[in-house]
């Protein structure tokens, strides 16, 4: 018997073997074009940049949390919890650590990763390379997600994927009347490995039924989100 046959048979007998990174977590449907795998692999570190990207992070967190998951927020005093609730986050399953001393930031994140499915952080100061690696290792081991808001630059390890909002346009305001109703966001995502090729999409937040909805891009010269070939590099 060929060696490869033995391996194949063993593989069949052992049944489905999946690694933590192969198990995908759901993302909101309108964001699917951003993720080459059709979801978010467990243990990923996701960076969010640009105006309006926070609402994307909130919406993604709500989807990952589902009916039972928990979310942790560390060191973001300005995090708009009402907005998060409007985008589907169940506040009954949210833990907030407002402003830990910078020496305690990494241990606090480690303790939260034991329990929460999504950890949202915004490091204000540079974190050491060693604690950052430990956090990354823990997220991978436990299959959690870490979302960096804005300050991904303050982090020594590169995020696995960065979602950047390149332009936004609000609707609902007029000259002295109306109120903000929803915004169009053009998003691009860059990452490492299989996510290296830039991908883009356009969404409306909040969509007509809450959450996110797909929309045509703001800048009409940019390619439509349905077109599969997208610019590989966005300035």
């Amino acid at each position: 018997m060929e060696r490869s046959d033995v391996v194949r048979q063993l593989h069949e007998r052992l049944g489905p073997v999946t690694l933590s990174r192969d198990q995908l977590l759901d993302v909101p449907k309108p964001l699917l074009p951003l993720f080459p795998f059709g979801g978010l692999p467990k243990g990923f570190i996701v960076g969010f940049e640009g105006a309006g990207s926070w609402s994307v992070a909130m919406s993604m967190a709500a989807t990952v949390m589902g009916d039972h998951g928990w979310m942790g927020i560390v060191g973001i005093e300005e995090f708009g919890l009402v907005a998060a609730a409007e985008l589907g986050v169940d506040l009954n399953r949210v833990l907030v650590v407002e402003s830990p001393a910078s020496s305690r930031l990494a241990p606090a994140m480690g303790a939260l990763l034991e329990a929460v499915d999504v950890l949202i952080v915004k490091p204000r100061r540079l974190i050491g390379a060693e604690p950052a690696r430990r956090i990354k290792a823990k997220a991978t081991e436990k299959g959690r997600l870490v979302f960096h808001l804005d300050g991904a630059r303050q982090w020594p390890t590169t995020p696995d994927i960065v979602v950047r909002s390149i332009s936004q346009r609000w609707e609902g305001l007029d000259d002295g009347h109306g109120h903000l109703r929803h915004r169009h966001l053009d998003l691009v995502a860059h990452g490492r490995r299989s996510a290296a090729r830039g991908r883009s999409t356009s969404i409306i937040v909040p969509g007509p039924h809450g959450g996110l909805a797909t929309s045509p891009p703001i800048n009409h010269s940019a390619p439509a989100p349905s077109a599969p070939k997208l610019p590989t590099k966005v300035a």
């Binding site: 009954n92 949210v94 833990l95 606090a108 303790a111 329990a115 936004q168 000259d175 903000l180 039924h209």
Partner: protein, 551 residues
Amino acid sequence: MPGIRMAMVWCPDWPVVAWGVPRDEPAAVFTANRVVSCSAAARNQGVRQGQTRRDAQGRCPTLAVLARDEGREARLFEPVVESLGQVTPGIEVTGPGLAGFPTRGPSRFFGGDHALAEKVATLVGSTLKSMGPALIGIADGAFAARLAARSVKSYDTPTVVPPGDSPQFLAPLGIDELGIAPLANILKRLGLHTLGSFAALNRRDVVGRFGRDAMMAHRLASGEDEHPPDLRMPAPDLSSVWNFEPPAERVESCAFVAKLLADELYDALSRQGLSCVRVAIEAESESGETQTRLWRHEGAMSAAAMADRTRWQLDGWLRQTRGQVGGVSRLSLIPDEVIAATGRQLGFWGDDHHQAHDVSRSVSRLQALLGPEAVMVPELKGGLAPSERIRLVPAGAVNLAERRSQSAPPPVGSTQNTLPFEPSARSAVVETEPWPGRIPAPAPTQVHPDPIPIQLMDQAGNPLEVNARGEVSARPAVLVIVGHDNTPGQETGLAASRQSIARWAGPWPANQRWWDPLTHRRRARLQVTTDSGAAYLLAIEHHQWWLEATY
């Protein structure tokens, strides 16, 4: 051996009754979007336990949707238990809405079970008044007594099962009454549809085939008690006691201690391989009055369950005796009835509770690391500005495993059918009510904890004002961010800058606490979008503009 003769008082649909819903109004109480309990009117229209909200509202469009509030249920049930105290001291509360006591002594005193039942009915009836009915059953064993109470036909005639007749009384009842759905389903497939047919099986065979839980079910079905009476008394040093110095007058401070005591007691018990099925909560007031209440739990009580019951109990007492006897000076938890701990098997696939357990463990670690107030949980409340709509509560003060509020605000434009029945009902359903003057949804994603001072000017460069009638002096044109001390600029995009305003709306005036000169605040808010596409929430107070939030 037949179970101990018990009387049970059962208030049907207590979760709904506790909200003060009139009997003929259709209403239902929901937990995690499922019906937990509904009023008789709702039941007539087809609402059932376990339905989803959409299902229930589909059957009964006028259904009032209420959130579960166990603390309130326990608090309102306390007077009922209190009234039973006139009959016997040995009352045990199974949960809000269900309490019982052994009848041997009281029955002899009042001249028989029927006389006792009538006495109890009058007492409870005069306490509840028009709130809701209370059904009373007397039989051998708490389980049989509870079913006897449920089988009451008319509200004024209690069911009394004669001594020794419990097995015969239970025999024709359906197997579902055991309340163990997986077992009941198997038994039904085996053709055993009544408790009698199950009880007729040999107990050894039942244990051999279905395990320990089924043995307890078999004991119940045969009219015995769930656990055989264990005459071993728990050692007195197992009770945990706390002396308050100074006496506690608020339930919050008691709740913290209750959690400590429950943890301590739970540890002490588990070191000896015991778990508690009945706990006595004893509180001594400043003036020396002592109140004791027994709580029973099916299965074994966890530390969190003990802490919850203690909190409910103290809440009830403190509210009743407000100011008359002073605060609580001493609190004890006494394990009243213990059984050998058999451990708990966690679900193979990691269930909900498992994660709640992980979360509370991680919270304790964080508290040890950063201090008790460091970990917070958010709660939504009413308010005008985004920052006023969230309250952060220390995680140590709440039970993380239970839902605290109906937290998801309805999506924009949707209406929810909710009727508040009394002012205190509002807290749970506040999000469904209009809040005049609130900035409409969506809420901003960044609410700056310290608003950022800015300058807002019209085209000519004059500072903008809002007059007493809530009108802006001119069209806003330029926004200048002066700079913010503790936020390094480039992170939030709020570095000192000068931006042109594209569109704007408002002002939304907010005249808050005008009756109190010290906390009175008078502000007006504007929403603006700038040329770069950013949207901000601005506020003016005393001629100074602030950037409160970024959308």
